[in-house]
């Protein structure tokens, strides 16, 4: 896939980092403000897609990237399940139990396991939306002109 003009490249360079940090902000404040894992994950995927579209990528690199992203996605999902099982192991024998200390309401590090769920859900959503995008590009590159 070919990249775009220098203007687009420079603009993407300028704003993609900000979008990425904003996505992380939305994810980690998920238990305090509106937003959370899903919304933040979509924003993260948006910045990744922006960079890929602006700069272009070689076909084989795209395929490798898709494989790596699949592994990240699966690891994130397994982490969510592991936290759920953790509630069973370190607590009152209940799945999805909130087994960490709750902290003070309103602080960033509070609400027990909820921020962890948000972080892993965010990773999962970002990588799965990026995978959908990559698969569409790979399909377009593979199909005969």
């Amino acid at each position: 896939m070919k990249g775009m003009s220098i203007i687009v490249k420079k603009t993407a360079q300028l704003i993609s980092g900000m979008i990425f940090i904003y996505g992380i902000y939305v994810i980690v404040h998920g238990h305090l403000t509106p937003g959370g894992g899903f919304a933040g994950g979509v924003i993260l995927a948006g910045s990744l897609i922006l960079v890929t579209l602006a700069y272009g990528e070689e076909f084989f690199k795209l395929v490798r990237e898709e494989m790596g992203t699949t592994i990240v996605e699966s690891l994130a999902t397994i982490s969510v399940i592991l936290i759920a099982v953790g509630g069973f192991l370190f607590g009152s024998k209940i799945f999805f139990n909130n087994f960490l200390p709750r902290g003070t309401v309103g602080e960033l590090v509070s609400a027990g396991v909820l921020p962890l769920y948000n972080i892993f859900v965010g990773t999962e959503v970002a990588s799965s939306i990026f995978i959908i995008f990559l698969s569409l590009i790979i399909f377009k590159e593979e199909s005969p002109k």
Binding site: I71, A84, F88, F95
Partner: protein, 512 residues
């Protein structure tokens, strides 16, 4: 026991993503791991069924206790009825996974196959265990979307067309179901099935809920392929890889279709006679029309798929008769007989239809064709497939020592005792036509003159496939034992009790 219930969902979901990671790097990890996971789930499901003792096991996910007796968390409940369905899902799933070890070698992307297979099992377990209406929808989507991908797994022209048709109709069904759930939530202000039932006590808005009942019935009817909604089933079930056809036909349409219809109409909605008559009519129609569509087919898997519609018609008709009697409030013992006959037939159908699809897969594996006209004389070269398919054919047609006979007998006796003589006669006629079409299957596939004179060309299928077919045919014989009153009391009676009693389900969930 109670707190371990989410394992039925957690274990297959976790194994899906483990297969996606480890299966990429370790060869053959995926197939043996899937089989091991399903063996564990099957053993665990039988253990759960045995440890229930007719009671109800409840798990509040996340430990959210009810506030002022209003349930706020997600509930997962196991009772006599869904314990049976859980056993069916995981045992047929286990045998299909064993069968896949040799069968799926011919496809590329085996890893995705096993991952999607585990995901589908997890979704179905979730649908069956959930005591929460919206959660049923979520798990339904998990299992249905993975089944779309599995139907298209061959990526040929027919597979993609079948999968597309299935997706369009499946999305329509999901839309109707979500719409119905939304209407219920609007009026009842809760999503817990037992709590909705409690909310109905204060007043049941008849015209409003009639609309909701029709939405839910047509949505889940599409998933269960009851006759006016059956168009997707023959294509989807015949195009999927054979172990998946066995899962879809033997388990899937029951777990996400029939089970939910029975559960919601008995334990959530207030049963009305008109709705019960409608359900019975739909069941009778599927039973009769399905078999007439089946008998003309020459593609084995299409023939079996149409028979699935017809046999599911038996289940729905029989449960519908029970529903009519419960709605009238008369002759409770006959209603119990009819419903237990329906559930018995549901169990039996999982065994013999799963087996028949595995047989069809074995024939396709060896001969490379699904057309009955192009095969023949396979009895000599494939003795195990021939013997097991004979058992399955006799079971589905209702020949005495096999399980299908007893369940059909109970259904027909219940229909006669409830004075639905026409339905009883139709059930007998349909059974005879089923026998005719399976004799055709036996004759053309196994006993006719060989189509190809060089009959040493064909060999018996590999051992894992034979093993799972043999296991299912033994199960077909053993399930006849459910007709013995003592065994029936232990297994079927708790299931029927929880359905026919108007308050048992809701009080035992809200009371805990």
């Amino acid at each position: 026991m109670n707190s371990l219930l989410p394992l039925f969902v957690v274990v297959p979901l976790a194994s899906t993503f483990l297969i996606m990671i480890i299966g990429r790097f370790v060869k053959d990890f995926n197939k043996y791991f899937t089989a091991a996971v399903l063996l564990f789930l099957a053993v665990f499901s039988y253990y759960s069924l045995a440890s229930l003792h007719g009671g109800l096991a409840l798990c509040k996910v996340g430990g959210w206790e009810p506030v002022n007796k209003v349930p706020i968390g997600i509930y997962i409940a196991l009772d006599g009825f869904n314990a049976i369905v859980i056993c069916i899902i995981n045992s047929v799933g286990f045998l299909a996974a064993i069968y896949s070890i040799s069968y799926v070698k011919r496809y590329t992307g085996e890893n995705y196959f096993y991952a999607l297979f585990c995901l589908m099992i997890g979704g179905m377990n979730g649908v069956v265990l959930s005591a929460d209406l919206f959660n049923i929808f979520v798990f339904l989507e998990i299992s249905v979307i993975s089944s779309y991908a599995l139907v298209a797994f061959g990526v040929g022209k027919n597979e993609l067309e079948a999968s597309f048709k299935y997706q369009v109709l499946g999305s329509l069904a999901s839309f109707l179901i979500l719409f119905g759930i939304g209407f219920i939530y609007w009026k009842a202000k809760t999503l817990n099935i037992a709590d909705i039932r409690e909310a109905f006590k204060s007043g049941y808005d008849r015209p409003y809920y009639l609309f909701v009942e029709l939405l839910i019935l047509s949505g889940f009817g599409l998933k269960a392929a009851v006759i006016p909604f059956h168009a997707w089933l023959p294509d989807a079930h015949s195009s999927a890889p054979s172990p998946i056809s066995a899962m879809l036909s033997g388990v899937f349409i029951k777990a996400v279709g029939i089970y939910v219809i029975i559960r919601l109409f008995f334990n959530m909605f207030v049963i009305t006679e008109g709705m019960a008559i409608l359900i019975t009519t739909l069941g009778t129609m599927s039973m009769v029309v399905g078999v007439f569509l089946a008998i003309g087919q020459w593609d084995i898997k299409r023939l079996l798929a149409y028979h699935s519609i017809s046999q599911m018609g038996y289940v729905i008709m029989s449960v519908g008769i029970g529903m009519i009697l419960v709605a009238r409030g008369v002759r409770h013992e006959i209603a119990v007989l009819a419903i237990s006959g329906g559930i018995f037939h549901l169990i039996n159908h999982a065994a013999f239809k799963g087996l028949l699809f595995l047989n069809a897969g074995a024939i396709e594996y060896t001969t490379g064709t699904r057309n009955l006209k192009e095969m023949g004389g396979l009895a000599r070269s494939m003795p195990a497939t021939s013997a097991t398919s004979f058992v399955a054919s006799m079971s589905i047609s209702g020949i005495p020592p096999f399980n299908g006979f007893f369940s059909k007998l109970i259904i027909i006796i219940a229909a006669v005792m409830a004075r639905f003589y026409l339905l009883a006669a139709l059930a007998v006629v349909v059974s005879i036509i089923t026998l005719a079409s399976f004799l055709k299957f036996q004759r053309y596939a196994f006993y006719n003159k060989p189509h190809d004179t060089d009959d040493r060309k064909f060999r018996e299928v590999p051992f894992p496939m034979v093993l799972s077919m043999a296991a299912l045919s033994v199960i077909c014989l053993l399930l006849s034992l459910l007709a013995i009153p003592a065994v029936r009391d232990a297994v079927l009676t708790p299931a029927v009790d929880i359905l026919t009693s108007t308050v048992q389900y809701s009080t035992s969930i809200l009371g805990q």
